[in-house]
């Protein structure tokens, strides 16, 4: 058998610590024992590709999911899904969700005193192309307060969910906007090792703006790459 495996991220360089006490919810929701390193078997190098999942036309346009147009600043969010070698992850399913321009989620648990927008639901999906490119049209989400600490505000963000090619590559993350002054105060953003934080910021992309219509941001997503030398077994 000759199976390829996925590279393991160096500890403390890419992902947050599970227990990040400034983000209070992590304290009772983080394992205290180290994860047990599991060799990559078929269970880990396979995973849901969801290729049979049929996306409705326009699922990547969050501004056209309801009868009318949502309020807020219309934006294009686009980029590529890549692996650590810079190779595209073809036909990856990309799911996003976000609050509306006023900072309110279309969710019964969100009690923030800001208006719901009947024309904005906040969820979208896209299938990346064979070159890994994806594109959404949405409105810029607002900042909103949360109860983590006194006067806590989440910087504007869009949640991203990706499967990639394997169980081992599953990733849920958040995209932020460049130079947002709230980033410095956000314990979720700052749970990430300092050098890796800028990777969660989209880049303003003048070339992708649409004159008279929408500004644009670019957000490339990098999933785990494969080991260059396949592991030899038996």
């Amino acid at each position: 058998m000759n199976e390829e495996t996925y590279r393991r991220p160096a500890a403390g360089q890419h992902h947050p610590a599970n227990r990040s006490p400034d983000y209070k919810s992590t304290v009772s929701r983080s394992p205290s024992k180290p994860a047990i390193v599991l060799p990559h078997t078929l269970s880990e190098i396979t995973g849901p590709l969801l290729r049979a999942e049929r996306l409705d036309a326009g699922e990547n346009d969050l501004t056209r999911r309801r009868m009318g147009e949502p309020l807020g600043e219309r934006i294009v969010v686009h980029g590529r899904v890549l692996d650590e070698d810079g190779k595209p992850v073809p036909e990856a399913l990309v799911e996003i969700w976000q609050c509306n321009a006023a900072g309110r989620y279309h969710h019964p648990g969100d009690q923030h005193d800001a208006p719901l927008d009947p024309n904005f639901y906040g969820g979208g999906r896209a299938r990346a192309g064979t070159d890994g490119t994806y594109r959404f049209i949405t409105i810029k989400p607002g900042a909103y307060p949360w109860k983590n600490h006194y006067n806590a505000w989440r910087p504007a963000h869009i949640h991203f969910s990706l499967f990639g090619p394997a169980f081992a590559t599953r990733l849920i993350t958040q995209m932020y906007f460049p130079q947002d002054p709230l980033l410095a105060f956000d314990p979720i953003y700052n749970s990430v090792p300092e050098g890796a934080r800028p990777r969660l910021q989209a880049a303003f992309d003048m070339d992708a703006t649409q004159p008279e219509w929408a500004l644009a941001y670019r957000f490339d997503i990098v999933l785990r790459g494969r080991n260059a030398t396949p592991m030899e077994n038996t």
Binding site: R29, H107, Q174, V192
Partner: protein, 187 residues
């Protein structure tokens, strides 16, 4: 050109309205081969309190032990309509249920077979990285020889083994911490 990994972030509490479109707690439509089973996973925090806003995903082989994925090139049957992927939110009692078929055994890279198992991903507010674990089946004689279970200290293995209740449902409580902390894998 090498690129640096995108860091992980929490799923947060408000994912429900969006990813609900892609929920699938019934993985096996009628006609899929194998023993039909129901799995009930309950999610608890380190203090034992239930986690009602979690998202659980499962990934498994079919009853023949074949993953529906191009990396699994073995000459075993694939079942039409069975991808092997499920996603469900925990409810107000912290429980997520899946209807599926019992997976077959899959190989271990060094040789031999793994015991039948379901791969599980845990997401929740306060969980910054996907937590990966496995569900095995109580009473399976292959448990003793499973190479992954044998990587775990014996006293913690029970956190990975679902038990069948009086109604036939396979139940496994998951603990994010505390004295019964679930074994999570770096996979």
């Amino acid at each position: 050109m090498s690129r640096a990994l995108t860091p992980s972030q929490t799923i947060g509490p408000f994912y429900f309205g969006t990813v609900v479109n892609a929920y699938r707690h019934d993985l096996a439509p009628a006609g899929v081969a194998g023993e039909r089973i129901e799995i009930a996973l309950t999610l608890h925090d380190a203090d034992g309190a239930i986690v009602p806003d979690g998202l659980l995903e499962i990934w498994q082989a079919n009853s023949h032990g074949r993953y529906n994925h191009p990396e699994d090139r073995r000459n075993l049957p694939l079942d039409a309509g069975f991808e092997g992927y499920g996603r469900a939110s925990t409810d107000t009692r912290g429980c997520a249920r899946f209807g599926t078929v019992k997976p077959g055994r899959v190989p271990w890279p060094g040789g031999g077979l793994q015991a039948a198992h379901v791969n599980v991903s845990v997401f929740a507010r306060g969980v910054l990285n996907r937590l990966a674990t496995r569900l095995y089946f109580d009473g399976d004689p292959a448990l003793a020889e499973d190479p992954a279970l044998n990587l775990v200290e014996p006293e913690r293995r029970a956190t990975l083994i679902a038990k069948r209740d009086a109604t036939g449902v396979w139940r496994l409580p998951l603990y994010l911490g505390g004295p019964n902390e679930t074994v999570f894998f770096d996979c």
